[in-house]
């Protein structure tokens, strides 16, 4: 089995938003839709040990997504490898999934009329390539791979470091792992 997951090494992220732009380019997004913003709370720590803390966001491709069961049309679906995606021709644009998602991963424009979301670039991934945001990240802050494969970089990182997931208490089992610990370099 394959279980695609992403690790965000926030120690490496410099907040350049390259992934945001790369994603927009590859997926040809409408201008008001962003799949993967890089958000920041600003500087952390006390002088002189201050650092900027960036959190790259993306669809968490949850193991138990809140959006898929909410969809009345069956356009929202999850594949066996964990990728959650929307079939545009079957989506009627009721926007209930966008309200169900706790991560704001789904977005909608009136001109298109269907829901859009990150697909982990499944067109690229299924051909053995990396998602475009991962390929673009020059800091190697985004790491993508198969969590079920013990030799993949993703499963090694998740095993080795203390990782956290966003809004884990909601029980959606998000599959994007954040490495926050600065390892004393703070």
């Amino acid at each position: 089995m394959t279980r695609y997951a992403m690790v965000m090494d926030t120690r490496r992220c410099i907040g350049c938003q390259s992934c945001t732009i790369a994603c927009r380019t590859w997926n040809e997004l409408p201008i008001d839709i962003i799949y993967n913003p890089v958000v920041s709370e600003g500087a952390e720590g006390t002088w002189p040990n201050v650092h900027m803390n960036f959190t790259p966001m993306i669809c968490m491709h949850c193991a138990k997504p809140a959006c898929v069961p909410a969809c009345p049309t069956g356009a929202s679906r999850q594949d066996d490898d964990g990728i959650v995606w929307v079939e545009p021709t079957q989506c009627m644009g009721c926007k209930v999934c966008a309200n169900a998602c706790p991560y704001g991963a789904r977005d909608y424009t009136k001109s298109e009329g269907f829901m859009r979301k990150c697909t982990f670039c499944k067109d690229r991934v299924r051909e053995g390539e990396q998602p475009y945001c991962v390929k673009t990240c020059h800091q190697k802050a985004r790491i993508f791979g198969d969590l079920d494969d013990p030799n993949s970089e993703v499963s090694k990182l998740v095993g080795k470091f203390k990782t956290e997931r966003i809004h884990e208490d909601l029980g959606t089992e998000p599959q994007v792992y954040y490495i926050r610990d600065l390892g004393g370099r703070g």
């Binding site: 920041s40 909410a70 356009a75 079957q90 009627m92 209930v96 169900a100």
Partner: protein, 352 residues
């Protein structure tokens, strides 16, 4: 942060609850309170209005969709809450139509003779479906666990009580009215017994509305104050806006006072005078509508890690640069439109 649902859905939640509440009360009146043949013909106009209300709500729902062409796919899956809402709405509307058809004269002139008790049966189905529609409007919102202010088990209760109260209010306005010729009804109710029945029904609906408004006041205040005092920080921030923030006047002044307390006072002390019989239901209806708007506008999800900062920095409306971008113009014409306008004739002349 983007709000995905607008006035269409707020109005739909209100109308769906309202129509469902009317059908529920029509069923209760017809079967339990005043069982008798004349009751159902008095209720025909109320059921018709409920049908119109539900149809307008459904129309808004479909009109609000991004791709209305594929709306039939709402019936495809098995478990989605919206699917059940669509099914229940359809059942309620179909059986309301059947009830009305079985009550009017010109339908019974058709060659086949409808079974006598069938109209009551249709009203029972429509009433049960209407009740479930009412519950469903709250359930749909409450099942979205990503929204802290919505995802509470009490929201369906609040919506149901509010829907019942508004349903009783509008039904009390409709009971006894029949703007069409009385001969159209199989059992005309312009008799002394009919007038007595109408009086009784109006009195019953008034009493029910008063009790329901008290209940709604209790549920609403508990809902908001518990979100304000005892829940997670995300819901607390929204409840703060309701209780003492920018919505305090809308909530305390319009929603609680004008939408609940004053209708209750008019209802209890106004009796069957015009103030009690007309002003009070109308105010209760407007209060119910406002409640759906306020709930639907409290749609913030959990924003952590500085997401809020990110989203507030995005353009909040259609900015002028969008027009430039879509026209495919040069970047410097966005940032300095005045200079661009000044040079526009020159470039046009150069092109010639």
């Amino acid at each position: 942060m983007k709000r995905f649902w607008g006035w269409e859905l707020a109005t739909y939640l209100f109308l769906g609850g309202l129509g469902g509440g009317m059908l529920t009360f029509a069923m209760v009146l017809d079967l339990i309170v005043y069982p008798g043949a004349a009751t159902s013909s008095i209720l025909v106009w109320g059921v018709f209005i409920a049908l119109i209300v539900l149809a307008v709500g459904t129309g808004l729902l479909i009109f609000e969709l991004g791709q209305p062409k594929v709306f039939y796919r709402a019936f495809v899956t098995r478990t989605a809450v919206i699917k059940w809402g669509a099914v229940l709405l359809s059942i309620a509307m179909i059986f309301a139509v059947l009830f009305i058809l079985w009550e009017i004269t010109w339908f019974s002139m058709l060659p086949f003779i409808p079974y006598e008790g069938l109209a009551d049966f249709f009203l029972v189905i429509a009433g049960i479906a209407g009740f479930l529609v009412m519950v469903y409007t709250g359930t749909m919102i409450a099942s979205l666990k990503g929204r802290p202010f919505w995802a509470t088990p009490a929201l369906p209760v609040l919506f149901t009580v509010s829907a019942l109260s508004t349903g009783a209010a509008l039904l009390s306005l409709c009971v006894g009215a029949f703007p069409l010729p009385m001969e159209w009804l199989q059992i005309p109710f312009n008799t002394i017994e009919g007038a007595e029945l109408i009086e009784g029904m109006k009195h019953f609906l008034h009493m029910a509305d008063a009790i329901l408004i008290v209940l709604e006041l209790l549920v609403l205040l508990l809902y908001v104050m518990l979100q304000f005092c005892a829940s997670n920080k995300y819901a607390k921030a929204i409840a703060d806006r309701w209780v003492r923030g920018s919505w305090a006047f809308t909530f305390w002044g319009l929603m609680v006072t004008c939408g609940l307390v004053i209708p209750l006072i008019f209802n209890v002390f106004g009796g069957m005078s015009p103030v009690g019989a007309i002003v009070s239901p109308v105010m209760a209806l407007l209060g119910g509508w406002l409640l759906r708007f306020m709930i639907l506008w409290s749609c913030e999800r959990r924003l952590d890690n500085g997401e809020e900062k990110f989203y507030t920095r995005l353009p909040q409306k259609r900015e002028p640069f969008m027009d430039y971008w879509e026209e495919g113009r040069e970047y410097w014409t966005w940032v300095n439109p005045a200079q661009a306008a000044a040079e526009e004739p020159k470039t046009a002349a150069a092109a010639e």
